[in-house]
Symmetry: C2
Subunit: 235 residues, 2 copies
């Protein structure tokens, strides 16, 4: 995975942890297609200067001096350039695009509130201020006030995810026997939870739980090679 | 559409209107596959005796004395019996199953609350009591109290549907150039709103609005052949 001509900028915490849900979508996609790249970790406050400047979010994928930001734009560019099949057909593409928007509010919002304090703790000092200030402004609360009742929030998040549990319907992946981009998109969300806090967000949804284990095993256990929050703090 | 050996039981109001979202999913599916049937309208209180008894919900589809209830079970049975393609592949099947569960709470709940009073008004007298009693028990409020601020509820419903608007992404249907079952499932939900109340639930989501017009035109304008609430009450 070290092609110096292809560079992936990814969010990096104080211990080198890679935790961005959007970056994980891209990393799984690149691994699936066997596209190698060099990884460049950046803290929250480095993003504005990364890849020549002008970007606000990661992932940023650069090749031959052309840089693309935004996980959806990267997915569209790469999947359309190959054979398009990784969406799982037009209906699978609709599903993925739906999930991109729906899960931003429905999953990533709640996960961020659950893990806001541990995410903050695990950033380099230069990034802690930025993270606290920007998130407290967005939510109108201190990080410590965001999740007064984690059990209630986990229960509510489990309910939000229940239709995903049903959707698997006995299939190993949302794409059927093999994963499609919708799998990688959702994997990125759950991996974000796994890497940033101690909560098991899947315990109420057994099909999703088994699916996530399968995803962690894909591509030489790429997802599992990133330590979970709990593993990192036990070391 | 009058094969006396295949019978579809569908919910019917006082003016003969067909308004069940679940039945519309099945009707569009049958029309897509060119499967003809005889229609049997039933009021809410007739369902328990329909098709020999034992069913609680419509649609009920009977053929050669075998009856299947539940729109999802019917879809699985029929689509798997044909070539399976109408799901749009395994990812499209996941999408449809996700929507089946997600849209029950996310779309049908809000539409029912918006139109509870007009649905009640448009039932035969024998069904009005049942509808009022069962729904008031479920929600713990009178039908008249369910939607004190329709504009606020429409705005909230529009927000819930926004990811669907994005998901079309320039495609004519969720299935791409042609509809798949996910299209018919969502069509059933919007047709339910169109047939039971005066509210335009799509005005804030222009891609969905154009998509719904395309769906109304499918299969010899099958969906449009059912008058909207507004058309029915202007007659």
């Amino acid at each position: 995975m070290t092609n110096p001509n292809r560079l992936l900028y990814e969010l990096e915490g104080a211990q080198g942890q890679r935790f961005s849900p959007y970056v994980w979508r891209t990393k799984m996609l690149l691994a699936h297609l066997g596209i190698d790249y060099q990884s460049q970790g950046v803290g929250f406050t480095d993003i504005a200067q990364a890849a020549g400047g002008g970007f606000k979010t990661v992932p940023i994928l650069c090749e031959a001096e052309v840089c693309v930001s935004d996980s959806w734009a990267i997915a569209e560019t790469i999947i359309d350039k190959t054979d398009g099949a990784l969406f799982g057909g037009p209906a699978g593409r609709s599903f993925a695009r739906f999930l991109h928007d729906w899960s931003s509010l429905g999953m990533l919002g709640p996960i961020l509130r659950l893990n806001a304090v541990t995410i903050w703790q695990d950033q380099a000092p230069k990034d802690q201020d930025y993270f606290r200030t920007s998130r407290e402004k967005r939510f109108g609360k201190t990080l410590e006030e965001l999740c007064p009742d984690p059990l209630a929030d986990l229960k509510s998040l489990s309910r939000v995810m229940r239709p995903l549990d049903s959707a698997l319907g006995g299939q190993p992946f949302f794409g059927g026997q093999a994963p499609v981009y919708a799998d990688y998109l959702l994997f990125g969300n759950v991996q974000f939870a796994r890497c940033t806090g101690p909560h098991d967000i899947l315990s109420q949804n057994p099909s999703l739980e088994a699916w996530f284990e399968r995803c962690l095993n894909l591509h030489g256990q790429l997802g599992r090679s990133e330590p979970s929050y709990t593993e990192r703090h036990a070391q």
